[in-house]
């Protein structure tokens, strides 16, 4: 029985719209991954604890509320505190281009904005696994 790629898709903070997160979750499932979805309105603590218990290789954070500059770094900080910094994090949603460098400085590996093809996300995950 081989190892499967496990990914947590999470929506941090206060926004009530998860169509995008569900599309990604579905697509990664179709690409053969095991995807855990934790639902709407999660705190960074809930997301990090779930990611640890599920032993995922990746967390995908989806956000539309505009609070990414606060919530994404908080997730990264908690991963470090809990000694789970080997979990790779990417983000997606409505995120202005000028915020992306800041998020990357904070350890977010990639940020996918509207219009990104599903294949780009899958390729990103597969490339990261080779590293």
């Amino acid at each position: 029985m081989g190892e499967k790629i496990r990914v947590l898709i999470a929506k941090p903070g206060l926004d009530g719209h998860d169509r995008g997160a569900k599309v990604i979750a579905q697509a990664l499932k179709d690409a053969g991954m095991e995807v855990i979805y934790t639902g709407l309105r999660q705190t960074p603590e809930q997301i990090v604890n779930a990611a640890i218990q599920e032993d995922v290789k990746f967390i995908g954070l989806s956000i539309l509320s505009g609070a990414h500059n606060t919530l994404f770094p908080k997730v990264m900080q908690l991963l470090k505190e809990k000694k789970a910094e080997d979990i790779k994090v990417f983000g997606g949603g409505v995120i202005p281009a000028e915020d992306i460098p800041f998020l990357k400085e904070n350890g977010i590996l990639e940020v996918f904005t509207p219009g990104t093809s599903i294949k780009t996300v899958i390729d990103f995950i597969e490339n990261e696994l080779k590293k």
Binding site: E3, A31, E34, T38, Q42, Q46, N49, A50, E54, K82
Partner: protein, 304 residues
């Protein structure tokens, strides 16, 4: 074997989930020394009956008595082997409780409603000191009854208004329930109907343990206390009726042994015979050979 952080416990569970042989041996050794201590509660029922929502409420009730682990199984895609594991959504209120550990599993296309590693992962949680282990199956139909082999108590969660459902479920799954739950009891008339049908069925199938039927509204938490007290009552029944309990242990041992036999054969096939396997498939496809013939040929070589 010490799990001093969730990270370590979680990584070990992954090794077990992937049926890593050395880790399985380590687990067996440790488990044989410590013995079974946790109480295992199986939650099963058709898709959408409210298993995860009820599990969520069960966690709240049980965690007052001790540490709770949850194993939540969802189905894998037959075509891609991928899986969307969504049971956890209903339980995220417990994500920050250090006494609760929730792990989602894909069934990895195993039949029976669980994954092949479920029994082993139960043991990991037992060793790690969890007093209650809740195992939630995939949404089941008639025949996915492996849960009975691993549970001290099986809770079968049903939808109201299921006269027809009930017909469909008569044979396999009805027989393994230690406790029946009719969820969504806010649908009063329909719930009452299902309640009556189950009670009638129970009267027709007299057993040493008469399964109680409980109406719940899992969203609101109604009926959950009654469910917990019946789970406790069922535990006492087994504690006082070793013969009945041994029947279940026997089922489990038989199932686990068969499973490990297949595991060992699989591992041997993987390491010794990938070529054999490939040529075997080819000759069947080309009409040069038949499956049984090929299987016997391969196993003769592999199991020496």
């Amino acid at each position: 074997m010490k799990f001093d952080s969730d990270v370590k416990l979680s990584k070990f569970i992954s090794k077990i989930e992937n049926q890593h042989i050395e880790s399985l041996r380590e687990l067996e050794l440790e488990f044989s020394q410590k013995g079974k201590r946790a109480q295992v509660i199986g939650i099963t029922g058709p898709p959408g009956a409210g298993k995860s929502t009820l599990t969520n409420k069960l966690i709240s009730a049980l965690v007052k008595k001790g540490k709770v682990a949850v194993i939540a199984v969802d189905p894998a895609s037959l075509f891609t082997d991928g899986a969307l594991l969504g049971d956890r959504i209903r339980m995220q209120e417990h994500a920050n409780n250090p006494d609760v550990f929730i792990r989602s599993l894909s069934n990895r296309n195993a039949l029976g409603g669980l994954s092949a590693a479920t029994g082993d992962i139960i043991k990991v949680f037992d060793i790690a000191g969890f007093e209650f282990i809740i195992v939630e199956t995939v949404g089941v139909g008639q025949d996915e009854i492996d849960i009975v082999k691993y549970s001290d108590t099986v809770v079968l969660v049903l939808n109201p208004a299921g006269g027809d459902d009930m017909q469909a479920m008569k044979a396999g799954i009805m027989e393994i329930a230690d406790v029946f739950v009719v969820n969504k009891a806010d649908l009063k008339n329909e719930a009452e109907k299902t309640f009556n049908i189950i009670n009638y069925w129970i009267k027709m199938n007299e057993k040493e343990w008469e399964p109680p039927v409980i109406k719940t509204n899992a969203l609101e938490g109604n009926g959950v206390d009654e469910l917990v007290s019946n789970i406790v009552r069922h535990k006492h029944f087994f504690d006082n009726n070793r013969k009945a309990y041994e029947k279940r242990i026997f089922l489990k041992a038989k199932h686990e042994l068969m499973q490990k036999i297949f595991l060992v054969i699989n591992k041997k096939l993987e390491t010794n015979a990938p070529e054999y396997f490939k040529t075997g498939i080819e000759s069947i496809v080309n009409g040069k050979s038949e499956p049984l013939n090929e299987a016997e040929k391969i196993l003769k070589g592999v199991l020496k």
